[in-house]
């Protein structure tokens, strides 16, 4: 074990890279595409006429650059981030930033896998269908439920799938107009409210009781013959496992409502507790979080939605089946609610997750959960000795699971330095900017940290030393913390309000030019 040192001399690269559009030089090219030979033209015919008129572009608004400078630009950008592979990413609480084994990247990059296409004939993609099917069997075992779809492209998406199944279920019974309420809890992930709302349900949110668990009396007051379902996370995003989760299920079932379990925080209980035994009808996993694959940033991630047999007929199509000899795509679900996405799931994520799971085996999965909870409890005890730091619902007598929502309220009171400033200052020691909390900020000056199983004791200790140092600075020289970061690629936002003002922020260059003009 090495000596834990905090990186006092850390300094991030600062390239001050312009936006790639601003680097464009008219006429510059990366590749000069040759004109087709006459023979080719003749054989292909008028290919352009096959493209619908509204998809044809006369002008391509793309930056004009040579290859070297494109490569250089993107490498520089990667040097200006503090991702999970580069640093101690305990920071991203609620996101389960565990190590994604490199060997699985090799599998995913293997041309035999990388070059298959979902529109290929079933016969020619038996291998990936087999992995898909087998991974479904594993997920069934882990959840205890009967059917799984991997079509959703992430956690929110899987929860939206649940909302769509709940909708299809009540529609099939002809009761959708009566069953129009979905109950959730304030410390569940916000998608547990947002996606049923998108599916047309009214949302009732429960607040916690004095111990921080969803108030069971409030649940009793909320359920009625209008209850379509409950959507709840457990352990919630503050790291507390609701010990009465089965009672919640019973109360909702007693009025005829359905129960969906958001298991994105499954790293706390993999192989320990199952949705089935708690009585749930449906659940989901964030495959990219819990099963060791890249997160994919709102794109190529994966959410596994699981349900009891009774609800399988509503699943999106296609599902992957096996007739004893070969694997096939099953579109034959007349009551399916449709699709949430093209095809049948992010193959690259499923392949990596399957490999990850097979490498660990059943005991290994449970060990992951155990180590994350032990890591977190070691870390928690240590962190709570830092002046100015506390945790939410402190002293309620319940052990934290895989993450903790802390509070810098005391530090703020004592020194004027709040959680935003602490996070900025931690970056100066090479620690990624940490996650505060989902909105609303029910816990003042929040900080949510999740030290998954892949972090070593040294990692935990380093993180602790950094926060201790920042706290010390806050008491002694608060201006250093308040003006941080000093050593990061980017400093503070020039205009704090800009993020909230739709007239100012832009997610594309086109929108930027429209809102701010081309400087």
């Amino acid at each position: 074990m090495g000596v834990v040192k905090i990186k006092k001399d850390f300094h991030e690269a600062r390239w001050c890279e312009p936006i790639i559009y601003e680097m464009s030089t008219p006429g510059q090219r990366g590749i000069l595409v040759p004109m087709p030979d006459d023979e080719v033209k003749e054989a292909a015919g008028d290919v352009l006429s096959a493209i619908p008129a509204n998809l044809r572009r006369k002008e391509l608004n793309l930056p004009e650059m040579d290859q070297k400078h494109v490569l250089q630009h993107y490498i520089r950008l990667t040097q200006e981030t503090l991702g999970a592979n580069l640093t101690n990413d305990i920071s991203e609480g609620t996101c389960t930033m565990k190590y994604n084994p490199r060997v699985n990247e090799d599998l995913a990059a293997n041309p035999n896998f990388a070059e298959v296409h979902p529109l290929q004939d079933e016969e020619t993609v038996q291998g990936i269908l087999e992995i898909h099917y087998k991974f479904e069997q594993i997920i069934k075992e882990i959840s205890g439920l009967d059917r799984v779809t991997f079509q959703p492209g992430g956690g929110n998406h899987a929860v939206y799938t649940a909302a769509s199944v709940v909708r299809a279920y009540w529609e099939s019974k002809g009761e959708l107009d009566k069953r129009d309420e979905v109950i959730t809890t304030i410390f569940s992930h916000p998608c547990d409210a947002a996606t049923p709302a998108t599916a047309g349900f009214k949302i009732i949110t429960l607040y916690p009781d004095k111990d921080g668990f969803p108030d069971i009396e409030a649940l009793k007051a909320a359920v009625s013959e209008r209850t379509a379902a409950i959507f709840m996370t457990n352990p919630e995003d503050i790291g507390l496992y609701n010990p009465r989760v089965d009672e919640f299920v019973k109360i909702v079932h007693s009025v005829g409502g359905l129960c969906f379990y958001d298991q994105a925080n499954a790293n706390a209980f993999l192989g320990v507790a199952r949705a089935k035994e708690a009585g749930f009808d449906m659940c989901h996993f964030n495959v990219h979080k819990t099963f060791g694959t890249p997160h994919g940033s709102s794109g190529p991630a994966n959410g596994a939605f699981c349900c009891k047999e009774e609800f399988a007929k509503f699943l999106p199509v296609p599902t992957v089946g096996f007739d004893g000899k070969k694997y096939f795509l099953d579109f034959n679900h007349p009551e399916s609610f449709g699709k949430v996405r093209d095809f049948w799931g992010t193959a690259g994520v499923i392949l990596r997750a399957y490999a990850w799971t097979m490498m660990l085996g059943a005991e290994g999965l449970r060990e992951c959960a155990d180590i994350s909870v032990i890591n977190n409890n070691y870390f928690e005890k240590k962190l709570l000795t830092i002046p100015g730091l506390s945790e939410c619902f402190a002293g309620n007598g319940h052990r934290r699971q895989e993450q903790v929502r802390y509070s810098w309220e005391k530090l703020k009171e004592d020194t004027g330095v709040g959680t935003v400033e602490v996070a900025n200052r931690a970056v100066d020691y090479g620690i990624p900017h940490y996650w505060f909390s989902h909105h609303p900020w029910e816990i003042p000056e929040p900080m949510t940290l999740e030290p998954c199983e892949t972090y070593s004791k040294d990692d935990l200790d380093e993180y602790y030393e950094v926060l201790k140092q920042v706290s010390k600075e806050a008491y002694e020289t608060p201006e250093i913390v308040i003006n941080a970061p000093h050593k990061a690629a980017a400093h503070k936002r020039n205009d704090e309000a800009a993020l909230d003002d739709p007239e100012k922020w832009a997610t594309t260059w086109k929108a930027y030019v429209r809102k701010h003009g081309n400087k």
Binding site: F201, I204, T205, A218, A221, P440, P444, D500
Partner: protein, 372 residues
């Protein structure tokens, strides 16, 4: 040695509220309030608070002003107070409150327990300035913006007792705020910070300062209004309480509203504006009625602050199931773990309408919150 407790009751505090006046400061308003049939509220509330102290009667010496400024209430609870100063019965003024507080400070009381509203708190501040004498307020006024009040009369007594017994040791500088009463009656809120008084620190029992609205809330108010309006039933009377959240509902319906008063609508038309308790009772008699109220800032009150027209009698008539509580999410967040609060002055009605509410926070969005 006995602990010395100063007791000051502003006997006219709270008179304006029940008859639809937005405060009770100034003789003209008090006369008007009496004409409208108002009865003083604060003596009873002071008694409710003092009852909590009876258990330690032998350890506490009450120093107070004559008549209904404290002497009467103290005797009613079985105390033998030391009466100082002089005041004209039935015609006490702000000057008397100031004098009383000054003299108590000179006598080095351990704590001043006082009953009133924001005006009274200001008077105490005028007298005590930045002195070290701690105070705790019994909320009895129409306006309670200051953070020097307990959440209700009984809790005020509780805090006083715990402090005198040494169970609460910390005191906290707490804001004395008041609004311009003339502007208030015209529907404008201009709260001002006048200074700080020392208050025993017991989070749950002392009111948080009203938290101001943050920006970006227009959208939230709009969607709350959509929800309320969509669920409105024909031929049901809607009693719209004061506040900017309820105003959003009226605005969306294109109706005139009284920012700090109670309006009544039926089939989306105003049938009475800025009503008093008795007008309200007449309007709802034998009809199906619903009440729409919001939380007052960071305190969590849904009844008993600034909406006293919606009195215990009105609430009895309407019933808990017909109360619609609306509030933007950030107001609920500001409350933290604290419940919504009810302090109608009638403990039976408080009990009757306490329990869980589905607070409307947006279109098709509610949260379960408990009111006590």
């Amino acid at each position: 040695m006995k602990k010395k407790l100063g007791l000051i009751v502003n006997p006219v505090a709270g008179m304006g509220g029940r008859v639809g006046l937005k405060g009770s400061d100034g003789e003209e308003i008090q006369r008007k309030a009496r004409e409208l049939g108002a009865k003083p509220e604060s003596p009873q509330r002071a008694v409710d608070a003092l009852e909590r102290l009876v258990v330690s009667k032998d350890e506490i010496e009450i120093i107070t002003y004559p008549g209904d400024m404290g002497e009467t209430e103290a005797r009613q609870c079985g105390f033998e107070p030391i009466v100082i100063g002089s005041a004209e019965p039935g015609r006490t003024t702000a000057r008397d409150t100031i004098n009383a507080a000054r003299e108590m400070a000179e006598q080095k009381v351990d704590l001043i327990l006082f009953a009133g509203g924001d005006g009274t708190a200001r008077n105490l501040y005028d007298a005590l300035g930045n002195s070290e004498i701690p105070v705790i307020g019994i909320p009895a006024g129409v306006k309670i913006h200051s953070a020097v009040y307990a959440t209700n009369s009984r809790n005020a007594g509780e805090v006083a007792l715990m402090f005198l017994q040494g169970k609460i040791k910390r005191v906290q500088d707490s804001e004395v705020m008041d609004i311009d009463e003339d502007a208030f009656r015209e529907g404008r809120v201009t709260a001002r910070l006048y200074g700080y008084l020392k208050v025993p620190h017991e989070q749950r029992l002392v009111q948080n300062l009203k938290s101001g609205r943050t920006e970006g809330e227009e959208a939230a108010l709009n969607s709350i209004a959509d929800e309320v309006i969509e669920s409105m039933e024909d031929d049901v009377i809607y009693v719209i309480g004061p506040g900017t959240t309820t105003r959003a509902v009226m605005n969306k319906l294109g109706l005139e509203n009284t920012l700090l008063g109670v309006d009544v609508i039926l089939n989306k038309k105003v049938i009475a504006s800025d009503v008093t308790e008795s007008q309200l009772l007449d309007l709802i008699k034998g009809k199906k009625a619903k009440i729409v109220v919001t939380i007052i800032g960071g305190q969590g009150y849904i009844f008993g602050r600034g909406n006293q027209q919606i009195s215990p009698r009105v609430l009895r008539e309407v019933g808990k199931e017909n109360i619609i509580v609306i509030a933007p999410q950030n107001k609920l967040t500001a409350l933290g773990q604290n419940p919504l609060l009810i302090d109608t002055g009638d403990y039976e009605v408080n009990g009757m309408i306490s329990g869980y509410y589905r607070v409307v926070t947006g279109y098709q969005k509610t949260v379960m919150r408990k009111a006590e």
